[in-house]
Homo-oligomer: 314 residues x 2
């Protein structure tokens, strides 16, 4: 299942608005086919794997990171039906589908057709792999990542606004990769006007992955940008990367909309510079604790990346 | 030699104004005695080890982290003479003594007496262990550690000044241990007036290790404190821990007097709070790079401690 979940991540973020799912077909102890959700959400992972397996699917075990869908669409048949038709003997499922059209229905249909079903196998890991879709599905809002690139003393720029560069090449390349993994990015108008950031993905082979560009502003947005009046008003995407500046970052934090923090920190001191954040509505210090859990920490050249995830549902 | 250097650290900071040195006597492959510089700087490490070894020192090899002294004092004989008198056959030395009264003289005297001498064995490690004394000896100023305890966004307090607590128990206990390892601590007047910090060592068994208390102020200091007008005016100690606030921290950074950064970082966000630093005299971003090298990084509960050392002499 761990391999299936790892495979599912390949669909990010192109599978939106569908979840990114992985499927591995195993027969007689050998992998006979693999699939993950394709760009635009179709074909589904199961359809890709079944097509690749052909007759070899008969009698196989299918490992899937999400319950196979039970609803037919103009874009394709229901995967639970396809698995039955292909003669799959056993389906192992990580997470049950929270979509009411499938939620438990896919499992029931498989069982009725005589397919052996195991489910709830590594569900937390599967949900983490499809966190953007899961968040939108269950909370009705995008999964939000806030990126901050600071000095050791927490500045995102010098007092005169200069910020090129605080972090090094490797940290900035990692930032571009994160950008490619998101459907939309958000900046404040001030950051746009000061830096006129292109915010495209400047990595070989990933240029077509440049996300939709949103600007937090009450006025009209410039060409190529979409204006959003508040963090709560952001819809239509599963995943959002907040790129700055302090105003936009503070607005999403104050709205309690941040699920993940990407903190790139360079080994420099700036002193009297621009702070990473403005008012985030914190009333007292005790309230600040218990909100963030360290999920990953690594060196990128001489910079450190710390990834924090929210420690509670919201 | 690594064991000798580790042993030498036991003398910190009590050995001041003398360097903290370690000495291990080995004979026939067995350790026959060990010693390190005692409180106040005497007896020296060699004297302690020789006294413990007695007749067993004859024919032994002495491992010492610093060249044995060549100058007699009212407080004791020269260690090079003592090693010769005890019949030590071989002396292995990490670092040569920069004190002009000994610098090379100790080695020469040992050799003239027929003692085999090896030196320059792990000198960098030995110098690091005695960094406070070495810094004062070679640069004429104390070795300065700057401690900052911040939120992820680099704040040392909320906007109203409240800072209890940002970091957790384990990080604060580590801070007390660091305090016990320094001869003096420095705060700004503002920090004193806002927090009236006691700045003593609140760890069992280490209360008598509370350092001398210095205040950065142009006025008179309160009872129990010594006023210093500028970072450059601080003398008479080998090691200084700068405890805050932003004014004192920025003053020592602007004076380019900081050798080591202790960054305790709690997994919280504060937003519009008190910044860790004020103006440190940085003219442009490029000048900020290349100054600090990560020396240690560890978790203390849910807080992270990063230790940076200056990357260049100054």
């Amino acid at each position: 299942m761990a391999a299936t979940i790892a495979l599912s991540r390949r669909g990010r973020p192109a599978s939106a608005p569908n979840p990114t799912v992985g499927c591995i077909l195993v027969k007689d102890g050998r992998v006979v086919a693999r699939g993950w959700t394709q760009a635009g959400g179709r074909p589904h992972a199961e359809a890709v794997a079944l097509a690749a397996a052909g007759e070899a699917a008969r009698g196989a075990t299918a490992y899937v990171s999400l319950e196979p869908c039970a609803h037919t669409s103009t874009r394709g048949p229901a995967c639970s039906d396809s698995l039955i038709a292909a003669g799959v003997a056993r389906v192992v499922i990580a997470a049950q589908d929270p979509d009411p059209r499938t939620d438990g229905v896919g499992i029931a249909r498989l069982r009725e057709a005589g397919v052996e079903v195991l489910f709830h196998v590594m569900p937390a890991e599967a949900r983490a792999a499809m966190a953007p879709w899961w968040t939108r599905q269950t909370l009705g809002r995008p999964f939000v990542t806030l990126k901050l690139a600071t000095s050791l003393d927490g500045c995102i720029a010098m007092a005169d606004g200069s910020s090129r560069w605080i972090t090094g090449d490797r940290a900035r390349a990692h930032g571009h990769l994160e950008r490619a993994m998101h459907q939309a990015i958000l900046v404040g108008r001030g950051t746009f006007e000061a830096d006129a950031p292109k915010l495209d993905v400047r990595l070989p082979g990933l240029k077509e992955r440049s996300p939709q560009k949103l600007m937090l502003t009450r006025r009209a947005a410039p060409d190529g940008w979409t204006a959003v009046a508040s963090p709560e008003a952001i819809g239509g995407v599963d995943s959002l990367l907040v790129e700055g500046g302090a105003g936009a970052a503070s607005a999403v934090l104050a709205a309690d909309r941040v699920d993940r923090l990407l903190l790139y920190r360079a080994p420099i001191l700036i002193g009297r510079g621009k702070a990473a954040l403005d008012d985030i509505g914190l009333a007292n210090l005790a309230d600040a604790h218990g909100r963030w859990r360290l999920a990953d920490s690594r060196m990128l050249g001489s910079d450190r990346l710390d990834v924090y995830e929210r420690a509670r549902e919201g």
